[in-house]
Amino acid sequence: MIFLLRRLAFYIGAFFLAVTFNFFIPRLMPGDPSARIIASFQGRLNESQVEAIRKSYGFTGSLWEQYVTYVGSIMRLDFGISTVQFPEPTASLLFYAATWTLVLVGLAIFFAFTIGSFMGIHAAWHRGGFFDSFFTPINVMLNAFTPAIVALLLFYAFSLQLQWFPLGRAHSTSIMPSFSFEFIGNVLYHATLPVLSIFLVSFGGWHLGMRNVMINLLNEDFVILAKAKGLSDRRVRYRYVARNAILPQITALALSIGFLLGGALVTEQVFNYPGLGKFTFTAIGSRDYSFIQGQLLLLTASVLVANLLSDIANVILDPRLRT
């Protein structure tokens, strides 16, 4: 319990660092976001209107007052007003986009982690064999082919040339969102290629991680004892070695979510998928700071939650942490 509380305190601290970072970055740079809006009206605003716009962006008062206001609005999930879709609050845009990104990243992580880990277990058990010496390097090399390139390759081959998959969107415009098989099937059909491209660049990491930890564990005394007791190969492999090897993998999984989310941002761009990446890209084009900052906070928060979940999973799986 103390372990989890300490981790929780750390995550809250880390989140506040991200919030503080978000607060100071625009204030350190020349020309704040409100100045851009004001400039776009080309002097057609009077004093009080300028002041009102500056105030709505939280750029009035002392630095400390501004900071307190900023933290307060973040706590109320108020990320400001989007400049691209002007009166729309940024928060609702963020949550709409994040839903689609979660679909992509969730599916990709699930497949990459399970398939990669099983491949790693297999490679470590038959280490030095054909599977290990052939597929381990190839899978890991896929890791170094950035999501942008894999996505471009898949898009070119399956969407443009073979036309097996759609050219964009999360679902066909003709189907209304609902909890029907038709709609979910349509969403999965549209998500196939983006998920596949994130999957392809990430499962090699789980393969290598699992394999390397397993190989080191296979020479431990408790494994040799288990074999000497005549336990079945299956039992030794999964209950003895893999169970221990999965612990660092779960921690690494939580840490990698930030990387995967980054990959998803790029993938969505290629497949024209309406997730955070697509929206962030539009936001970058029009310098919509509230959205760009909001995506950092939202993604940071999701990585921190994932880390907390991995800590809880570690406590459940590893009795040594339950003190």
């Binding site: 978000n22 443009l160 990585v303």
Partner: protein, 345 residues
């Protein structure tokens, strides 16, 4: 006698008269041939052991050769092409041919010229950021592990923060705030956000080394702290620094390409990432101009693959059990031919 299992080299039937010859223990050369071992070339014995292990590692050397080839083409770019990467060199979207080895882009610039000149920037930014990240990780990791106490707590907190904060979204925020994020800015940001893993592994390793006798001996002799860190601990850390450098470089090259691809870089600079950006923006794929988009893709993939191969070699040096595991198939067969149990593996 009959239960002696025969080896392929000694497959004659056992008979009393040549039993003595059969029982002759196999020579070292025969054993090495059977186990698929090769003796190291003589010149490697003069190298330090870590370096010798690296140069005799097949995978690692393939990676080094690919990387060197890429670096050399980038360095000698002016000799390989006579065009200017920033200038129009012909009609837009000319097919690859004699005039333009890889065709021209939508803007009529020579694609091959952009590729080799772009390699200069991309590789410099990637390697520079990787090196800087490894150095920051080394300095913080060693200090945290060696000094312990309050220093360790503070450094570990920042290491964990850097590890937890999502890299690309963070860089997006910084890159949008500075008006044009040219390659140097991107490199700097990547270095400042990429040192987490290196610091963590080096800290763990320092903690392990600190408890060893040779460090204690140096402390008892009254050596200065910086001297112990530099002379006693640092040399044992080289392969971990190397690992941090290689992983940092992979991450930096990929992140730079991704950032510029989504349009956060300086679109006027010539790098592999901006080549992809322009190709995507000008719909090169949709209009069939494959030569505009695949060459930078292949260059980035080759760089990534080369660095991964080098990292395999570094991994095998820092973790010798991984290297030993490569030979286990042969050892198992070797033992089972002699009727010995190979179950312990």
């Amino acid at each position: 006698m009959s239960e002696i299992v025969q080896t392929p080299g000694l497959s004659r039937p056992l008979r009393a008269e040549n039993a003595a010859e059969v029982l002759r223990p196999p020579s070292q050369a025969e054993l090495m041939a059977e186990l698929g071992l090769k003796s190291r070339p003589g010149w490697t014995s003069r190298l330090p052991p870590g370096l010798a292990a690296f140069v005799t590692n097949g995978k690692g050397m393939v990676g080094v050769i690919i990387l060197l080839a890429l670096i050399l083409t980038a360095l000698f770019a002016p000799l390989l092409t006579s065009y200017d990467p920033n200038r129009r060199a012909g009609k837009p979207h000319v097919q690859p041919g004699y005039e333009h080895v890889l065709g021209t882009t939508r803007m009529g610039k020579d694609a091959f010229t952009q590729l080799v000149y772009g390699g200069r920037v991309s590789l410099t930014v990637g390697i520079g950021a990787g090196l800087a990240a490894a150095m920051i990780g080394l300095a913080l990791g060693i200090s945290a592990g060696y000094f312990g106490g309050r220093t360790d707590d503070i450094i570990t907190f920042f290491v964990n923060v850097v590890l937890v904060l999502p890299g690309l979204p963070l860089i997006i925020v910084i890159a949008t705030m500075v008006e044009t994020a040219g390659p140097p800015v991107i490199g700097l940001v990547l270095a400042l956000t990429g040192w987490g893993w290196a610091a963590r592994t080096i800290r763990t390793q320092t903690l392990a080394l600190r408890a060893r006798e040779f460090v204690l001996a140096a402390e008892l002799m009254g050596e200065k702290k910086w001297r112990i860190i530099l002379i006693e601990i640092f040399p044992n850390m080289l392969s971990f620094v190397m690992g941090g450098f290689v992983l940092g470089t992979i991450a930096a090259i990929l992140a730079e390409a991704a950032l510029e691809f989504i349009g956060l870089g300086d679109p006027n600079s010539v790098t592999w990432g901006t080549m992809l950006y322009w190709a995507q923006k000008n719909l090169a794929l949709q209009s069939g101009a494959w030569w505009e988009i695949w060459p930078p893709c292949i260059a980035i993939m080759l760089t990534g693959a080369a660095l991964v191969l080098i990292n395999f070699a570094v991994d095998e040096i820092t973790n010798p059990q991984l290297k030993a595991s490569r030979k286990i198939g042969r050892i198992k067969r070797f033992l089972s031919r002699r009727g010995r149990s190979a179950d312990v593996f």
